[in-house]
Every structure is written in structure tokens, then in C-alpha cells.
């Protein structure tokens, strides 16, 4: 630029020279993500609800002890002596009692423990399994890819609920299955969910790795003598964090619903342990008389699934604004 020739200076330059705006600073992906998420009010409300629910679930034993109504304690005096029908919400039984005279409030709290436990454990295990197998298939290709991909295809060919139902019902009798390794109850439900759910993330990861492995940074790592394990863990895995996080948050509500469905159908959590799905199943026949037995676990399930879905949407938008 030669001076004098260009009389009017661009306004933009003035502003820049003024230096009153924010610094153009480098931001890490995490900063970008958390900033976008903080602007998403819906996701924040959902996150707040989930945090609250986790707190309630963790402190459920103390809350329930303070009320004096353990989840499996039966209060026959709360049942109508002539018809055996349960009584509704009162000050001592906030959500009323169920058909065996147990406090619905205590059981909804304990049901949250089951739902969250299954959701987190089953999701973590299925995601871990899916990521490992997906990376192996995508990275090594060949025989490993064929075997894993066909296994995914076969698993996906089953109707999910039917497969989970089959696994859960065959393991929910006696000492469980696989020589007692899979015990009836929570373990069985978790295994059933993992078996049907790892395939989705596995397939996504495989696709991602197939394209990533051809990128220059992988080639340069390989050229500088990095082994397969180093490339998989140091080079590829960090690039898979976004799909893993997005997928995990979206699959949690699905898993909560799957646990509820299995318990509703009577092959999930063993009685007397409280589960929202089992409570809904028990409440259905007497809904006309005891609405509270159906409504409270139903609303708890609805809000939880909704919160995880909204949070999942928020996280996806924050990681990948193009889709927002």
C-alpha cells in the first residue's frame, strides 16, 4: 500500500485499530463446545434436571429413611380393608401407595437408581464395545472387518426388542445363563441391552475410521514409526470423541426405555426391586382406581427420557453447529 493515494481509510481498519472489540483468540474445541452449550437454554434445563435426578438417586436411601418408608416396606393399613385397593397421595405418602401397600414415592426414587444405573452402565459398556470393535474393523479391514461387519449385520437383522426379550427371558430363570455369569435382574437387563446396542456405535465408528485412516496425519504418524496401537489410540481416537459423545447421549434415553420395556414385560428387574417399567405394568390393570400408581412413575420416565434427549440434541448442536 502506498500512502496518500487512498484517501478514505476503510472503516473496518479504524475499528481494528481502536482495539475495543474482543481479542481474536484461539479457542480450543472444548471452549467452543461449552460456549455453544451454555447458550442453549433448553439443553441447560435438561442438564439441570438430570443433575438433580442423579443427586436424588444417589441420596435416595437417606431421603427414604427420613420419610420412614423404605422402598420394599409394605403398609397394609394403607389398603382398603374391603377391596384391597390402594390409597392415594397424602402428606405421609406423597405419591400414594401401590397394590401391595408400598410407598410409590420411595419406589419412584429407587426406580431412578435402576434407570440411571442401567442407562449409564449399559451405555458405557455398549459404547466401549462398539468403539473397540468398530475401530478394529475399520483400521485393520480384511478378515477382522468381514467378521465384525457381518456380526453387526446379523445382530441388526433381529428386531431389537424381540432379541432383548429373548435374552432377558432366557436368563431370568433360576441361576441365570452362561453358567451363572449372567444373573437374573440388573445384570441380565444390562447384558441384553449391550448385546443389541453395541452394533450402532460399532458401525458408525468403523465408517469414521475407514476414512480417517487414509488421512495425511495418520500417514505421517505411520511414516515416523508409530505402531498400530499408538495410531489407534493417539491419532484416531481423539478424532472420534465427537461422534462417541453425541451417540452416547442419544442412546442413553433409548436404553432407559428398553430397560423399562423389559421390566414392563416382566423379564427385567426382579421383584421386589423397584423399576419404573415394572411399576407401570403393575399399575395398568388398576389405573381407573389408582391413577397415582401409574402417573408418577410414568411422568418420571417421561421427564428423564425427555431430558436426556434434549441434552443429547444440545450436545450434538454444540459439537457440530452446521446441523443446528
Amino acid at each position: 500500500m502506498s500512502g496518500g493515494l487512498l484517501a478514505p481509510e476503510p472503516v473496518a481498519l479504524d475499528v481494528t485499530a481502536d482495539a475495543s472489540g474482543p481479542d481474536i483468540a484461539g479457542r480450543t474445541p472444548w471452549q467452543l463446545f461449552s460456549r455453544r452449550l451454555r447458550e442453549d437454554r433448553v439443553a441447560l434445563v435438561a442438564l439441570g434436571f438430570i443433575a438433580f435426578e442423579i443427586l436424588v438417586a444417589v441420596f435416595a436411601p437417606w431421603i427414604v429413611a427420613a420419610l420412614g418408608h423404605p422402598p420394599n416396606a409394605q403398609f397394609p393399613d394403607q389398603l382398603d380393608p374391603t377391596y384391597g385397593t390402594p390409597t392415594g397421595p397424602s402428606w405421609s405418602f406423597l405419591f400414594g401407595v401401590d397394590t401391595v401397600g408400598r410407598d410409590v414415592f420411595s419406589r419412584v426414587l429407587y426406580g431412578a437408581r435402576v434407570s440411571l444405573e442401567v442407562a449409564l452402565v449399559a451405555t458405557a459398556v455398549s459404547v466401549a464395545l462398539g468403539v473397540v470393535l468398530g475401530m478394529v474393523a475399520g483400521y485393520y479391514r480384511g478378515v477382522a472387518d468381514t467378521v465384525i461387519s457381518r456380526l453387526i449385520d446379523v445382530t441388526l437383522a433381529f428386531p431389537i426388542l424381540l432379541l432383548a426379550l429373548g435374552i432377558a427371558s432366557s436368563c431370568s430363570l433360576g441361576n441365570g445363563c452362561v453358567r451363572g455369569a449372567v444373573k437374573p435382574g440388573l445384570t441380565t437387563v444390562t447384558v441384553a441391552i449391550v448385546v443389541v446396542n453395541w452394533t450402532y456405535i460399532g458401525r458408525i465408528i468403523r465408517g469414521q475410521v475407514l476414512s480417517l485412516r487414509e488421512k495425511e496425519f495418520v500417514e505421517s504418524a505411520r511414516a515416523s514409526g508409530a505402531g498400530d496401537l499408538t495410531i489407534l489410540v493417539r491419532e484416531l481416537l481423539p478424532n472420534l470423541v465427537a461422534p462417541i459423545v453425541v451417540y452416547s447421549t442419544l442412546v442413553i434415553p433409548q436404553n432407559i426405555l428398553l430397560e423399562a420395556a423389559l421390566s414392563f414385560l416382566g423379564v427385567g428387574i426382579n421383584p421386589p426391586q423397584a423399576s419404573w417399567g415394572a411399576m407401570l405394568a403393575d399399575a395398568t390393570p388398576i389405573f381407573a382406581t389408582a391413577w397415582w400408581f401409574f402417573v408418577f412413575p410414568g411422568v418420571a420416565l417421561l421427564l428423564t427420557v425427555l431430558a436426556f434427549n434434549l441434552l443429547g440434541d444440545g450436545i450434538r448442536d454444540a459439537l457440530d453447529p452446521k446441523t443446528a
Binding site: P76, T85, P285
Partner: protein
């Protein structure tokens, strides 16, 4: 009675599958005699629709053993004896008079009515040899009647186990076309009750033999009737897909060969439809209240529905309550520790909160809390005076259980703290309410004296067929068992269920596996007493002894509610656990 264990089955299924509750009082049973009620009069004609959740166990009258199946059998078949609604006393049906007993109780002579004819396609007159064949075919493995061994096994010449072909039993003689003579090895006190069971309804040998000679008899699908109704059939006699569509429909039409003058059954309706697949008892009850169907068949209305029906002055007239005549109980496996010890079982009997257990099925409306096995319904036969009834070896205030007493018994049994310290126990229970809820109450009560109970939840029929009926697989606790007697005699309540001689490797109904030599001997003695009063006194003592073993802990004498539509006159059958007798129901016409 001789033991013919592998043939013995049980009629507990109705007690068991009946989904819910009944009341402590017989609300409208007075209406049950078949007379018309106010505002309308009974007329000939019309269709009665019965709703049921499930199907019959067997359509063949020689195999049927569910209460629900008996509704069809007694409308289409004429056993030698039968019952009027609201009565537990058998009266002559195919027989022309009550049986004559002679020879110290070892010979029983029955005459049958003249001029009774089979329905099409057989059409010929019924003779005494048709009754003989009907009983004999029960012993053939192709038919395998569930109770013939228990009640006809003592006939002279009766086979000791199932036979490949229909046997000829020398103890059933037919001196002429209308006379039957039964020769028994021992006097049998309850033979009248046995003669009222459906396997004494005649079966035409010439027609049925072909069907009975197959591996599984197909006579059921080709059956002919003697009662007022027959299952609709083709010209050649097949009912399959015509009057009987399994799990969907059973259609009864008039039997053209039935002569009203030979029968005390009014049978005024022209048609009876049994519609199956009504799984939801609430839907069933509301369908009947709406008038779209007339009566519930195998599933009583749930307590919540009963509550709203009884609160409605016009609807409550449509509801009847009938004592089921049986009891529900908790069976403890006496073959396995810790319930091989009397004191531990007694502790369980004390700790159980029977009131809470009853609440899981519907509270006071469901019936009385049982304290022993012979139902109070027997009282009207002079049983109380005979020394039976009204005792409670394990009392507690409000029937809520006595934990202190239970702990004391546990200490006596060698658990110093009063709390059980051994390994975990297993319990096999229903996976649906109300049975599942009862089991949870039992588990919670047992925890009060230290028992850690693992519950295996399965369907009601799996609970029986895979676990509680198979001694080899039997868990420590079977909390959802119950028993309906075949007829109102104490023997039908206590023999198959508690005699050690009746324990069988499969299809076992002695669920506690009780094998007490003194009880076994007392049962055998009581079976042979002919004098009713002495017999009842003997059974009253057995009832007491069995209850005191605490091997099985009775908790409910159930009453069965039956809901009728406003279009029909109610007629619950008392002997058959409240199941409606369709031949005494009538379709009303407007007044």
C-alpha cells in the same frame, strides 16, 4: 381308593387362574335358583354369551378338569348325578334315582332313565353300557382322565395304571340296559360325589372306539351330547371349526334329542356362546355391564370393578358371590432344609401376615382368612357338630402375624437370635398380580425372621408344571398354590393334597410333599367310613393334624364373584366355584 398317581391331576386351576376377588357374603345368591328377577320375565329363546380369558383344558368331557370346562360339560352332558345351582348336594341326572348302597358299602347299584338319546349323528338311546364305557375309557392312555384313578381306582378289576386300550373293568356290571352295578374293593364313603363327575356321562362305545384307539383320543372333536345343548357340529359329527374354535369360540346349540321332561334343567335359551380371549378382567367386566355379553366365565371382575359395581344400586343386583369351596395356601417343601423342621415351619405360620396377603387379592370382599383347609361351606352339612371347623393353631391379632412368637420358635429350632442364618431360599411365584403381589408379601414377612428369599417369577401354569408339581424341581416355597375340591367332601379337600401316598414324580399335587405316616393312615381309615357323621368327624381330625404340621399354610377361603348382564337371570353354581350354570340362566324379555 388306591393310589394311581400318574393319572391323578387336579382341579386347582380354576382357583388359580381366576384372576381376582370375591366377597365374604353371598350377596345375590338367592337369585340363583333360576327364577326370574324383578321387572322382566324369563322366556324361552335368546342367546347367552359367556366371556372367558382362556380356553377349556380339554373339550372331551372325559378329560375336562377345569371349572370353566365344566360349564360346557354340564350343559351338554348328563353324568349319573349332578347339581342344581347354589347346591353342593348331588341329585340324580342321568340316573333315575340316587344310587343304592349294599354289601357293606362295597356294591353300588344305579338305574338310569329310559328314553335318553344321544345327539346327532348317533341318535340312539343311551344304555348302561355307555356309562360303563365312559368310565373305562378314562383309564386308557389316549384319554388319561385326571381323576378316574383317584375315585374309580378302587373298583374291582380296575387297572393299576393307564392302559393302551380301553380296559373292560369287571367291577362295572350292566345286568340290563338300564342298570349299572359297581363292585368296590373297599367301602367308599364318597362314591356319590364321584358319580357326579363328568366321566360318568355316557359315551357311545360303538361310535367313540375309533376315536379312542388313536394315540390321543379325538372323541372330543366328535363328541355327542345327552344334555340340553350340544356343541354345534357337522352332519358327520365333527365340531372342529364349527362349534369349537380353540381359544376363540365354543358355540352350544339345542340338542334336538333332549327331552325336557326327563330333566330338571330349564335350559330356556336357544344358544350359548363362549367367547374366549378376554384377557383383561376389567374389559371383561365392562363388556358385561354394557350388555354386550352376559356373564364372566373363567375370570372374576377385579376388586376395583367390584367396588364401583357394588356402589351402584342397579348394577349390584347383577353381581353374585359364591364360596369357592377351596383354599389358597403357601406350601413349604418339607423334603428340604430348613422346612424339614416342624418349629421352623411353625415360625413361618406365625410370621405370615395373612391379612396383608388377602389384601393383595382384594381384601374382605375376597373371602375369609383361612385358618385350616376344610372350607366353612361344609358347616351346613353338620360338620361343625361333628367336631370339625373353627380352629386356628397359629393365631395373631388381626391376622397380621406374630413376629415375637415366630422368633421364639426359631430359637427353639436352633437359631439363637431368632433369625434364620442358613443359605438363601428359593420361591417360585406368579409373574403377574395378584399372585406376584402375594409372593412379595410372603417374602417380606419371611425377611422378618431372617430368611433371604430369591423369587423366580414365571407364569402361573409354568409355576405348576415345571416347578411346584415336580418334586425334583420343587423350590423351598410355593406361595401361589390353591385347591378346589372335586366335590364337597373333606376327602376331596385333603387326600390328593396331603397324603404321602399321593406324591407323584410329575403332576404332583401334594405340594408340601407331606409324608406323615400317622396322617396317611388316618386318611386311609377315613376314606372307608360310610356313616357321614363319623366320616366328617374323622376328616375334621385330619384337617387339624395337617394344619398343625404347618407344611402348608392356608390363608384364604375365597368367594367367587360372578357378574351377570341385566338381560339374564343369574345362576352361579356353588359346587363348581361360582361358575355360572348356563342351563339355569334365562334371557329376559321386557316386562
Amino acid at each position: 381308593m388306591s393310589a394311581r398317581p400318574h393319572l391323578i391331576r387336579f382341579r386347582h386351576v380354576a382357583v388359580a387362574s381366576a384372576a381376582l376377588a370375591l366377597a365374604g357374603v353371598v350377596v345375590a345368591a338367592a337369585d340363583a335358583s333360576g327364577s326370574s328377577t324383578t321387572g322382566a320375565k324369563a322366556a324361552r329363546g335368546g342367546t347367552i354369551t359367556v366371556l372367558s380369558a382362556g380356553d377349556v383344558d380339554h373339550i372331551d368331557p372325559g378329560q375336562a378338569y377345569y371349572s370353566f370346562s365344566y360349564q360346557i360339560t354340564y350343559a351338554t352332558q348328563r353324568p349319573l348325578l349332578s347339581y342344581k345351582p347354589n347346591s353342593v348336594t348331588p341329585i340324580p341326572d342321568l340316573a333315575s334315582a340316587m344310587p343304592k348302597v349294599s354289601n357293606g358299602g362295597k356294591t353300588v347299584t344305579v338305574h338310569i332313565r329310559h328314553g335318553i338319546r344321544f345327539s346327532p349323528p348317533v341318535n340312539r338311546e343311551v344304555t348302561s353300557s355307555d356309562v360303563k364305557y365312559a368310565i373305562e375309557r378314562g383309564f386308557a392312555t389316549s384319554v388319561a382322565n385326571g381323576y378316574v384313578g383317584a375315585y374309580f381306582g378302587d373298583l374291582v378289576g380296575a387297572p393299576a395304571s393307564g392302559t393302551h386300550t380301553v380296559p373292560n373293568i369287571s367291577g362295572i356290571q350292566t345286568p340290563d340296559k338300564y342298570t349299572l352295578v359297581f363292585e368296590l374293593q373297599h367301602p367308599e364313603g364318597v362314591f356319590d360325589g364321584a358319580l357326579a363327575l363328568p366321566d360318568t356321562a355316557p359315551v357311545p362305545a360303538d361310535y367313540a372306539r375309533t376315536f379312542d384307539s388313536q394315540t390321543q383320543s379325538t372323541y372330543g372333536m366328535h363328541q355327542v351330547a345327552t344334555g340340553p345343548y350340544m356343541i354345534a357340529n357337522t352332519k358327520s359329527g365333527s365340531i372342529n371349526g364349527v362349534g369349537y374354535k380353540p381359544n376363540q369360540l365354543i358355540e352350544l346349540v339345542r340338542n334336538p334329542n333332549w327331552n325336557a321332561k326327563t330333566s330338571w334343567r330349564p335350559a330356556t335359551a336357544d344358544k350359548v356362546m363362549f367367547k374366549e380371549g378376554y384377557q383383561d378382567p376389567t374389559v371383561q367386566a365392562r363388556t358385561i355391564l354394557s350388555g354386550a355379553a352376559d356373564v364372566n366365565g373363567d375370570t372374576p371382575p377385579p376388586p376395583a370393578e367390584l367396588r364401583s359395581i357394588l356402589a351402584n344400586p342397579s348394577q349390584r343386583k347383577q353381581l353374585t358371590f359364591t364360596p369357592a369351596g377351596g383354599s389358597r395356601y403357601i406350601a413349604l417343601n418339607t423334603r428340604k432344609a430348613p422346612f424339614d423342621k416342624l418349629d421352623v415351619r411353625k415360625a413361618v405360620a406365625y410370621v405370615l401376615d395373612r391379612n396383608a396377603m388377602r389384601l393383595t387379592r382384594g381384601g374382605a370382599i375376597d373371602g375369609r382368612i383361612a385358618t385350616h383347609f376344610i372350607d366353612p361351606g361344609f358347616a351346613n352339612r353338620g360338620f361343625t357338630q361333628a367336631g370339625g371347623l373353627s380352629f386356628n393353631p397359629f393365631p395373631s391379632a388381626g391376622s397380621n402375624g406374630n413376629v415375637a412368637k415366630a422368633k421364639q420358635l426359631m430359637r427353639q429350632a436352633g437359631y439363637p437370635t431368632g433369625m434364620y442364618t442358613g443359605p438363601q431360599l428359593t420361591m417360585v411365584a406368579d409373574n403377574t398380580p395378584p399372585g406376584a403381589n402375594t409372593a412379595q408379601v410372603v417374602a417380606a414377612d419371611l425377611a422378618k425372621i431372617g430368611f433371604d428369599v430369591k423369587t423366580i417369577s414365571v407364569t402361573h401354569s409354568t409355576m405348576y408344571t415345571r416347578f411346584c408339581n415336580v418334586p425334583k424341581n420343587e423350590p423351598n416355597i410355593c406361595p401361589n398354590v390353591g385347591w378346589l375340591p372335586d366335590f364337597h367332601e373333606p376327602q376331596a379337600v385333603l387326600d390328593v393334597t396331603f397324603s404321602g401316598k399321593r406324591i407323584t414324580p410329575v403332576n404332583n399335587s401334594n405340594w408340601p410333599l407331606l409324608n406323615d405316616p400317622s396322617i396317611n393312615a388316618a386318611i386311609t381309615r377315613a376314606e372307608r367310613i360310610l356313616d357321614p357323621k363319623a366320616r366328617w368327624a374323622a376328616w375334621g381330625q385330619i384337617d387339624r393334624k395337617v394344619t398343625e404340621t404347618a407344611a402348608a399354610i392356608p390363608w384364604l377361603w375365597e368367594d367367587y364373584p360372578t357378574l351377570f348382564s341385566s338381560h339374564v337371570t343369574p345362576a352361579p353354581e356353588r359346587w363348581n366355584g361360582g361358575s355360572p350354570d348356563v342351563t339355569f340362566m334365562a334371557v329376559k324379555t321386557a316386562a
